[in-house]
Amino acid sequence: MSQADLLDQDPVFQLKGSMLAITVLELAHNDLTRLDQQLAAKVAQAPGFFSNTPLVLALDKLPSGEGSLELAELMTLCRNHGLRTLAIRANREEDIAAAAALDLPVLPPSGARERIIELAPAAAPEKPKEPEFRPSRVITTPIRGGQQIYAAGGDLIVLAPVSAGAELLADGNIHVYAPLRGRALAGVKGNVSARIFCQQMGAELLSIAGHYKVAEDLRREPLWGEPVQVGLTGDVLNITRL
């Protein structure tokens, strides 16, 4: 392959998405004279801010019936105060046409986006539903080999022995107030802060959010047979005495 070929393959550009904070000038009235005065007053307050500041002109909030707007004139006015128009936000057809004539990008009206923001307070009262009370699953009889118990969306509490060959699964924490000789998998849907508590750890397998230890490793633990809690730190299962 020649040098030129290699250069051809070398990417010249990369497309990236980015969020930028941009000043938006939202026009409330089609009155350029007053705008000129008020802008001048603003600039006097903070001259540093208004020097080549990128700007989006929002015309979509103009009340209907305000008459047509001289876009070129408005842009010159802004330019004079140190604001450089990047694009306009508009919904009226004549504004969009004017922008096209000036080769100025048109952003969609803010309605969609702002509606989301407006919805947010409406959604907020629903938010507290998130930590909704999910009853723990409580098991009081021994769990024998071959049995599988799953506590969907919550904790699993077992008050009887869990035999070898049995499997406990929970989206939340697992508590076993008796010997645990089977498998216990907490946070099966990826909850890394889930924990396993047991009064006598003799498990075949302990797992939190997919990070597990098998009996071969667990038997080497000095805490084998002891009351322990199991948590996840990074990728490592931590077994500590209760």
């Binding site: 009889t141 024998r144 080999g145 049995q147 035999s163 070898a164 060959g165 010997p179």
Partner: protein, 271 residues
Amino acid sequence: MAKIIVVTSGKGGVGKTTSSAAIGTGLALRGHKTVLVDFDVGLRNLDLIMGCERRVVYDFVNVINGEATLNQALIKDKRIENLFVLAASQTRDKDALTKEGVGKVIEELSKTFEYVICDSPAGIEQGAHMAMYFADEAIVVTNPEVSSVRDSDRMLGLLASKSRRAENGEEPIKERLLLTRYNPERVTKGEMLGVEDVGEILAINLLGVIPESQAVLKASNQGIPVILDEESDAGQAYSDAVDRLLGKDVPHRFLDVQKKGLLQRLFGGKE
């Protein structure tokens, strides 16, 4: 109303049939009208252990299929009053046991008998499922070794979830552990699980511990339930177990190593 007791284990060869025969005979000896039902269709053994194999005409499956009446199929024990055997079919397989059919037979037996002892086949499939489905009580026969304990544990799980009582939300089946082939000497050497170990793992009521004994094999081959061999330790242990089943408080025996006498040690006494 009869008490339906299943003798089960999950694992094969642990002594289900021997225990069924011994316990059934023990109950009859104490005056309770008892029937032993062999659920091991295709591998029937209970008739041999009970010594009635030459008198089997009709079997359990015949009764289920309506080919014979229960009275025709029930074999009366020659030694003991109140003891009957319902043999399994040797020519069918376990799918011949339907829930409706078994239920009907059990119900009919319940009318005339005090105890119905269901001798379960090994495994956890149809035969074993049918044997335990209608049970009120379960005797889980376990050898003191890990695989047998694990299988018993699995069986206990099924008893708690797949029986009629579990499905109807009634009071659960009363589970009891019968530890067989127990050899205290090997337990002290660490070659065998101890009573405490098994009890801790399975966490159920201990019905009895049957010591490993030559008498069991001898009794099986002669077709005499070992409980009738009153001299033997196994026979005595089964007798104790039957008393406990009937609610008596009997201390456990044969749990510790027996000290051999001087003569026994010199001449290597029999076990």
